[in-house]
Each structure stands twice: as C-alpha cells, then as structure tokens.
Amino acid sequence: MMNLTLYKREWKANWVMLVIFMGVLTMYATMIVSMFDPEMGDSLKVMAESMPEVFAAFGMADVGQTLLEFVTGYLYGILLTAFPAVYIIILANRLVAKYVDNGSMVYLLSGPQKRAQIVRTQAVFMVTSLVVMLVYVMGVIWMTSELLFPKELEMEGFLRVNAGLFGLWILLGGVCFLCSCIWNESKTAIGISSAVVVYSLLVQMISQVGDKFENLKYATPMTLFSVDGLIANESEAWIMCAVMYGAGVLCFVVGVSVFKKKNLPI
C-alpha cells in the first residue's frame, strides 16, 4: 500500500515547514479569538463599517454575534484557506515534481516498490500532514476560546465548519498534487497549481464585494465551502462539502494513475 521508509523521510524533510505555517496560523487564530468582545460591542465591526468593500472581499462582511460566527467569519473566510493553500502548493511540488525534476526520483524507485506505491505514500503524507494542521488549528482556537470565553464556543457547529474546511484543503491538495504528478518540471507544476489557487481565491474575493459580481461565485471552487451553511447545518452545504471531498480524492487518484504511466525524464 505505502512505503514507511519514504513516509518517515518526508516527515523529517517537511516538519519544519509545517511548524512554520502552524505558527503563523496560531498567531492569527489567537489574535482573532481574543478580539471577540461580547459586551463592549465588536471593535472589528466598527472597522468593517469604515471600509465595507475590503472586509467584504475577505468574506468578513456579515459577521454574527456569537463567538462561533465571529471566529468563523474572520478566520475561515480567507486566513484558513489562503495560508494553508500556500503550504499545499509548496508541499505538493516537494512530494513529486521536485524529485522528478532534479532526478532523485531514481532513488525512490530503486527498490522493489512499484511507482504507484511510492506516489501513494506521498499522497498519504500530504493528507496526514493536513490532518495534523487541522487538528492543531482547531485545538488552538478551541483552547483560546475556552481560556478567554469559557463555554461560549458552540462545539457542534465548530466541528461542522472544520469538516468543511478540511474538505476544501483536500480539494486544493488534490489539485496541486495532480499538477505535481503531471508536470516533470518543478516550476511548471508550481506555476500552474498556484495559478489555479490564486484564481480561485481572487474570484471568490471579487464575488463577495458586491451584487454586481455575485454570480462569479459559481466560477470558483471556494464557494463549495459554505461556512454559514455548515453552521446552520443546511443539507445544501453538506452536499457541496461532499463534492469537495469527492473531487479532491478523485484528483489524488488520477494523480497516482498519471504518475504510474508517464515517461520519467530521470
């Protein structure tokens, strides 16, 4: 199924990068949570009213009153999608295309393991490292909330939103991983996967600014992650969530099968 030696080696090679990204996310998460102030009124809201377009672009337009709505509104709109996306782009390239580009793939294939086994290991590594990131970020948000505002965070809704967030990560991960499997050069793989991600984020931002561009939301996969819908437990939101998981997994599967069959210039 997978190769443990390679899996361990990937942890050794990539844990520093994971820690750095988790560090940045820790900073944002604790900052946002601590800004929540149920009694004094929402200081961020005052700021939001002063520049509504900017806040709308980042999906922070109608942030509700509860801690859950506040946290998901400010964090899950852009911070927890854009930053992990950067991590995903870099990691996807490191896991496949880089080895092919510099030729060290020779040594990953030097044992009795099939190509599929090697590349599956890389996919599993990506997914598990995203699980680690998600569990960590959830932990940070939950602990900060409990520390500052005990029992304010509605746990079930919080878990639902995170289930959706992970779906989005899987989708982005799948797309970037597929790019990494298709192209033999690092810079092509990175270029195309970042183009896809930046496009998706930008279109999402534009679609949130005003009614004029609202329909653009159908042109970006980011719309599939419906924070409000998941908080409200709407079935439509769950269907879109399932689509993200499905499409993400499909991308991983296609990536593995492309890599299995392609010509490797190593």
Partner: protein, 296 residues
C-alpha cells in the same frame, strides 16, 4: 542466456534526437560497453531499460521481464548508477546511503562500508556541499551495495580522478569475475577497453556496431610521433616505413597513424637514435570516423 534484451526500440524525441530501431543483447556474465558521443542516445536507451520511459515501438526486457511493466520486480536484482546523479539535498551522505538501503529493503548496509573504504569516501558531509566526485562515489556505493546480479552504469567514472577511475576499473573487473552482468555506458574508449568483453557503439540514436573488444580495437588507430637525433634519420625512416611522413614543423620528427602496424613501426625506429616519442590515442569521434571509413 540473454540477461538484457533490446529489441528494435525506437523512441523519437523529434529533431533526430532519441534512439531509432536499436537492438542488442547483453549475455549473462558479460560486461558490455555502450559507447557513443554525447547526445547519441545512450541515456535514452538506459532509461528504457530502467523502466522510466516506454519505447514508442519495440521492446526491452531484463531477465525476460518487460522493463516498463515489471520495473519494480527487476529492481531487486539490479544496481543502477545514473548519468546525472541527484540526491535529496537535505540529507548527509551516510543518511542517504542508509535511506537507499532501506528503500531497497536491505537488512543492513551490505557492501557499503567495504566500498566506501575502497573509494576512500567520507560520507558524513551534507550532500548539497559535496563535489561532483564525492557524489559520484556515493552513487557508486548505492549501485553496488546490494551486490546485485545486474549492473547498469551510465558514465560511471565521470567526475572521478584518475586514481579513483583505476579503482573503479578494478571494481568492475572483480565483479566480472564474480559473474555479474554489466552494461556500462561511456564516451571514453579506454575505460571500456580495459573492462569490457564486447561493446555496442551508437551514433545519432542508431547502432553502428556491436562486436568483441578485440575486433573493435583492431580498427583503432594511434597517432605516433617520433623525434630522431638527426634529420637524415627521419628521412631514412620515412623511406623505410611508408605510413610515416615528416612533420611540418620539425624535420627531425616523423608522424604516422598506426593500428596493427605498431610493432613494425617501433622496431623500425629502433634502428635509429630516438630522442622523443609521443602517442596520441584517437578520440572517440576520430575512432568513429575511422570506423565508417574502414581501412583508410
């Protein structure tokens, strides 16, 4: 038994790059040299043997198994030294050797310590900071440490100093005695001459010749340059030995291209007082030219 079989493979990269209708075999226990100038298609052929690329047409097999479909199975009896070596830069040499041993499912490091001693390799440094020669040595260790029955080596001595090149030749000779099947590419004739039983020569992706070393060497010429003590001696030599001619720059010097006639040329020169002698071995390009031209 044919250990490695290449059957009419074509892999066209366009612009006359690639290999075209190439066929040859490597027999069990044989060392086959694979010669050709840069860009002749040696590496393209080897990549097909390693199962990294599929031929457009034709077939390649090792131990009777198709190289692309059964790449993973073949790997367990195969050692490979890539022409352009690349490692994981973040590791140090020893970590890398251990990693490769594990990827090859070896219980320990096998012959690695012995080989490292033989090539005077200190693998403790970061791979990123290693010289070409050091990397080459690590590549050699990784190719041989499992003690595989078949070895595919792409320009194995590139980057090695002459002392280490000789050690490498010794290693090949001892592996040959132990019955290993070896395919070794090179653009340096001498290296192949010292180690191989047969050689396959390719140019522009097409096979030029596959033959025993003796037969190939008979076509090989050396340029001999002899300087005599006096001009008359040189003149007399030119008269006596019709392949020789006087050098333009120096009347005391004669130059000639000799193959099988080497013995006669030297014995003839023994009649006079020789003050200096130079021997230039033909470059591979010259050799090819000669090869196509037959006897000049």
């Amino acid at each position: 038994m044919k250990t490695i079989e290449i059957n009419h493979i074509t892999k066209d990269y366009g612009g006359r790059r690639g290999v075209f209708d190439l066929s040859f075999q490597v027999n069990q226990g044989e060392v086959l040299g694979f010669l050709g100038p840069n860009g002749a298609g040696k590496t393209t052929t080897i990549r097909q043997l390693m199962g990294y690329i599929k031929p457009d047409s034709g077939s390649v097999s090792i131990l009777g198994k198709d190289c692309f479909a059964h790449a993973a199975e073949i790997q367990s009896s195969l050692g490979y030294l890539p022409g352009e070596i690349a490692f994981m830069d973040s590791m140090n040499g020893m970590e890398f050797i251990r990693f490769v041993a594990k990827m090859k499912r070896m219980k320990d490091l096998g012959r690695a310590p012995e080989l490292m001693e033989q090539f005077e390799l200190d693998a403790s440094g970061k791979l990123k900071k290693m010289s070409k020669g050091m990397k080459q040595k690590i590549g050699i260790v990784c190719a041989f440490m499992q003690d595989p029955d078949i070895l595919i080596l792409d320009e194995p001595t590139s980057g090695l100093d002459p002392l280490m090149q000789n050690r490498f030749v010794d290693l090949i000779l001892s592996e040959k005695k132990r019955g290993k099947t070896i395919l070794m590419s090179s653009h340096i004739f001498e290296e192949i001459e010292k180690t191989c039983d047969r050689a396959a020569i390719i140019r522009a992706g097409e096979l030029v010749a596959v033959d025993s070393m003796e037969k190939l060497c008979s076509g090989k010429r050396k340029e001999l340059q002899i300087t005599f003590a006096e001009e008359q001696m040189a003149a007399a030599y030119v008269q006596a030995f019709d392949k020789a001619e006087c050098a333009a720059a120096n009347k005391r010097t004669v130059v000639m291209k000799v193959g099988k006639e080497l013995d006669a040329a030297i014995k003839q020169a023994g009649n006079y007082t020789v003050t200096d002698m130079d021997i230039h071995t033909q470059s591979l390009e010259d050799f090819f030219l000669h090869f196509y031209g037959g006897d000049e």
